[in-house]
C-alpha cells in the first residue's frame, strides 16, 4: 500500500461517523420518513402553484388554498365521482373562473385567453353554466357584455329554437368528402338503435357522400325523390365531381335491392321525423352561413341532452358529430392558445362507439402538442368503459380529481400520504380504511392527484348559486341567457322551418339544383369524362 492510499484510508476512517449519520438521514429522507404530512403537502402546494397564472382547486384541512398552474390545469384530466358528490360544482367553479378571466368581467380578474368546448349529454351542466353566464352578463359592463355575447356559441335544440348544424358540409375541407361521409355514417349507425345490414350501410354511406358532394342537408323528401325518380337523380348527379358517387347512383336501380332502399328511406324518415332534429340539421348549409356567425367564437357550450323529449341516440349522434369535428380540426389549431374540451358523462359518449372512442383515445395521447386538453367527467369510470379505454385514460391524463367513489379509490391509494400518527397501523388496515373513507367522502370533498405529486385531500371551493350571485331567479337567468347569449347562435323554429320548406320547394319539387360548391379537397379524376368536366368541356348527355 503506498503512501497516498494510506492517507485516503485514514481520511475516510476519520470521516466515518459523519458519513454514517448523513447516510442514515439521506435514506430516511428518500423514504419520506423524516418529512411529515404537512411538510409534504406544503412542498406539493408550492410546486403545483409554480407558474405565471394559477387556478384554485380547493383547500386543505387547515384552509391552505391549493392553486394549480394553468399550464397543468388545462391538460387532459379525469373528474370522477358518484352522483351528487360535487364534481359538477368543481367543474363549474373551474370553468366560471376561466370564463371570468376570458371576458374580463371585473378588473380584478387576471386576463387569460383560451378556447372551450363543453359537450354535455345530460343538460345539467349546460343549464347551470348558461345561468352563470347570464349572471356574469348581468353584472358586467357594456364592453364585457359585448365580449360575452360575441364569444359564446350555444348548441342547443328545442321545439322553439335550434342551433343550425350542417353535418354534411365539408366547406372547411379538413378531410376528404368521402372520409367525412364515412365518419358521419359510422356515428349514425353506432348511435342508432336500429340494425344495419352491410348493403344498407353502404347505401347510407353513398347517400351521405352525395349530400357532402352537393352540400345538401339531410332531407327525407329529397331522399325519396332521389331513390324513386331516375330523371331527378340524373339532374342531381349533374356536376357531381366524384365519379364513384355518380356511377353508384346511376346504377342504383340495378344494384340496390328494393327492400334495402326502402329500409334506408325508413331510417332517414325515422331520423328526420323529430322536429328538433329536422329543424337543426335540415337547414341548407349555404343559408346557415348567412344566418349565424359560427367562426370566431372561442366558447362553445353544447346541450346534447334529450331530457325525455327525444331518443337518447339523437343526442349521442349529434354530440359525436361535434366531437369528431373538433378532433379533426384540432391538429390545425394554434397551439399557443390553450384549448379545452370538456366531456360531461364521457362514458355515455365513449361506450359502444368505436368511431368516437378511438379518435378520442388518440386525441388524449396527442392533443397536448396542439395545446389542447380533454377533461373527462364520469361516474363509475372503472366499470363503465372497457379496461383498455380506462387504462389509456389513466395513462394519458395529467391530473385526476376523485370524489366519492369505489373502485377508483384504488387508483389514488399509492399516492396518498398517511397522517403522521398513522405509522403504527399496518398497510392492509390503512388500505381498508382509505377505501372506506373514499366511499363515504362528503359532498365537495375530493382527492386531487396531479401526477408527480402526492394525492391531496381537498374541499372544493364554495360556488354560490347563480341566482344568489345575480339576485335573480333561475327562470329569469335562463331567459337572459336565451335572449342575450344563445340567440346569437340559434334561429327560431319558424325561420328554420321556412328555410327548409323553401329549399324543398326549390330543389325537391322544382328540381332547381344549385351548382355544387367548390370543395377545398382535390377533385378526383378517374376517367375521361371527369377530365373533360374539369376542363369545362360539356359532353352531350341524353336525358331520359
Amino acid at each position: 500500500m503506498d503512501f497516498l492510499n494510506m492517507l485516503i484510508d485514514w481520511l475516510f476512517r476519520s470521516n466515518q461517523k459523519e458519513s454514517y449519520r448523513r447516510a442514515l438521514e439521506y435514506e430516511a429522507e428518500k423514504a419520506g420518513g423524516t418529512l411529515g404530512q404537512n411538510e409534504i403537502f406544503a412542498r406539493a402546494r408550492e410546486e403545483l402553484a409554480a407558474g405565471d397564472t394559477t387556478i384554485t382547486f380547493g383547500h386543505l384541512a387547515r384552509d391552505q388554498l391549493i392553486a394549480v398552474s394553468l399550464q397543468v390545469a388545462l391538460m387532459s384530466a379525469l373528474i370522477i365521482g358518484a352522483t351528487g358528490s360535487g364534481k359538477t360544482r368543481l367543474l363549474l367553479h373551474l370553468l366560471t373562473t376561466l370564463l371570468r378571466r376570458l371576458f374580463r368581467v371585473s378588473p380584478d380578474d387576471a386576463p387569460f385567453d383560451f378556447e372551450l368546448e363543453l359537450v354535455d349529454p345530460k343538460l345539467e351542466t349546460f343549464d347551470l353554466l348558461g345561468q352563470y353566464l347570464a349572471a356574469m352578463w348581468l353584472s358586467a359592463g357594456d364592453e364585457a357584455r359585448e365580449r360575452i355575447a360575441g364569444s359564446v356559441r350555444v348548441i342547443d335544440w328545442s321545439p322553439d329554437a335550434v342551433t343550425p348544424f350542417a353535418p354534411f358540409d365539408n366547406a372547411g375541407g379538413d378531410v376528404s368528402n368521402a372520409y367525412l361521409a364515412f365518419l358521419r355514417t359510422d356515428v349514425a349507425i353506432q348511435s342508432s338503435p336500429q340494425a344495419y345490414t352491410e348493403s344498407l350501410r353502404q347505401a347510407r354511406f353513398m347517400f351521405n357522400r352525395l349530400l357532402v358532394e352537393r352540400r345538401f342537408p339531410p332531407n327525407y323528401r329529397f331522399a325519396v325523390r332521389l331513390f324513386t325518380n331516375e330523371r331527378y337523380r340524373r339532374t342531381i348527379l349533374e356536376g357531381v365531381p366524384d365519379a364513384d358517387v355518380r356511377s353508384y347512383f346511376e346504377a342504383v336501380d340495378r344494384t340496390l335491392p328494393r327492400q334495402t332502399r326502402d329500409a334506408l328511406l325508413r331510417r332517414i324518415q325515422s331520423d328526420m321525423s323529430f322536429p328538433e332534429v329536422r329543424l337543426s340539421m335540415g337547414i341548407p348549409p349555404a343559408e346557415i352561413d348567412k344566418l349565424v356567425r359560427v367562426s370566431g367564437r372561442p366558447i362553445v357550450i353544447g346541450n346534447y341532452g334529450c331530457s325525455m323529449s327525444l331518443p337518447l341516440s339523437m343526442g349521442k349522434e349529434r354530440a359525436s358529430y361535434r366531437i369528431i369535428d373538433i378532433l379533426l380540426a384540432a391538429p390545425r389549431r394554434d397551439p399557443r392558445r390553450r384549448g379545452l374540451l370538456v366531456l360531461e358523462e364521457s362514458p355515455v359518449l365513449l361506450s359502444g362507439s368505436s368511431e368516437l372512442g378511438e379518435p378520442l383515445m388518440a386525441a388524449a395521447r396527442t392533443l397536448r402538442s396542439a395545446g389542447m386538453g380533454i377533461w373527462f367527467c364520469a361516474q363509475d369510470l372503472a366499470n363503465a368503459l372497457p379496461s383498455q379505454v380506462v387504462r389509456t385514460l389513466l395513462l394519458n391524463t395529467r391530473w385526476w380529481s376523485v370524489f366519492q367513489s369505489r373502485e377508483e379509490a384504488e387508483w389514488i391509494y399509492p399516492h396518498v400520504v398517511p397522517p403522521d400518527d398513522d405509522v403504527e397501523e399496518s398497510e392492509a388496515d390503512r388500505h381498508r380504511e382509505f377505501l372506506r373513507a373514499v366511499h363515504g367522502l362528503r359532498r365537495q370533498h375530493f382527492y386531487l392527484l396531479v401526477k408527480g405529486q402526492p394525492a391531496l385531500p381537498l374541499r372544493a371551493p364554495d360556488l354560490p348559486d347563480p341566482e344568489a350571485s345575480a339576485g335573480e331567479t333561475a327562470s329569469k337567468l335562463r331567459e337572459v341567457f336565451r335572449r342575450e347569449i344563445a340567440s346569437q347562435s340559434m334561429v327560431s323554429a319558424k325561420v328554420a322551418s321556412r328555410l327548409i320548406e323553401e329549399w324543398e320547394s326549390r330543389v325537391v319539387d322544382q328540381s332547381e339544383v344549385p351548382p355544387p360548391t367548390a370543395s377545398k379537397t382535390k377533385p378526383t379524376v378517374s376517367n375521361v369524362d371527369d377530365l373533360l368536366r374539369q376542363l369545362g368541356v360539356k359532353k352531350g348527355r341524353k336525358q331520359s
Binding site: F3, L4, N5, L7, I8, D9, L11, F12, R13, N15, Q16, E18, S19, Y20, R22, A23, L24, Y26, E27
Partner: protein, 100 residues
C-alpha cells in the same frame, strides 16, 4: 562477485534514490494537495453529476463492489475491506461521476 563491485552497485542505487527523492517528494506533495482538494467534496457529502447536474449524495446505504458488505456510510469507501472507489454511477442518469 567482489565486495568492491557490490559496494559500487549499492552506492549507485543509493545515488539514484537520492536523486529521485525530490521528484517523489514533489509528486507526493502534489498528490496530497490534489487528494485533500478532492476530499473536501467527500466531506461536503454531495456531488453534482457533470452530465445531468443533479446532486448525488456520497453518504448512502451502499454495497462494496469487492466484498459485498452493505453499510450506511460513504459510498466510496468500504470499512470492511478498505476498498476505495474513485467514481460511481449517477443515481439519476447513470453517467460516471469521478470523485477522487
Amino acid at each position: 562477485m567482489s565486495l568492491e563491485r557490490s559496494l559500487f552497485r549499492w552506492s549507485f542505487w543509493a545515488l539514484v534514490y537520492l536523486l529521485a527523492a525530490p521528484i517523489y517528494i514533489v509528486k507526493w506533495l502534489l498528490g496530497i494537495r490534489k487528494l485533500l482538494g478532492r476530499f473536501d467534496v467527500v466531506r461536503s457529502g454531495v456531488i453534482p453529476c457533470p452530465h445531468c447536474k443533479r446532486k448525488n449524495s456520497l453518504n448512502t446505504l451502499a454495497s462494496c463492489r469487492r466484498c459485498g458488505t452493505t453499510e450506511f456510510g460513504s459510498r466510496l469507501f468500504c470499512t470492511n475491506c478498505h476498498q476505495v472507489m474513485k467514481a460511481f454511477a449517477c443515481d439519476f442518469c447513470s453517467a460516471t461521476v469521478r470523485v477522487l
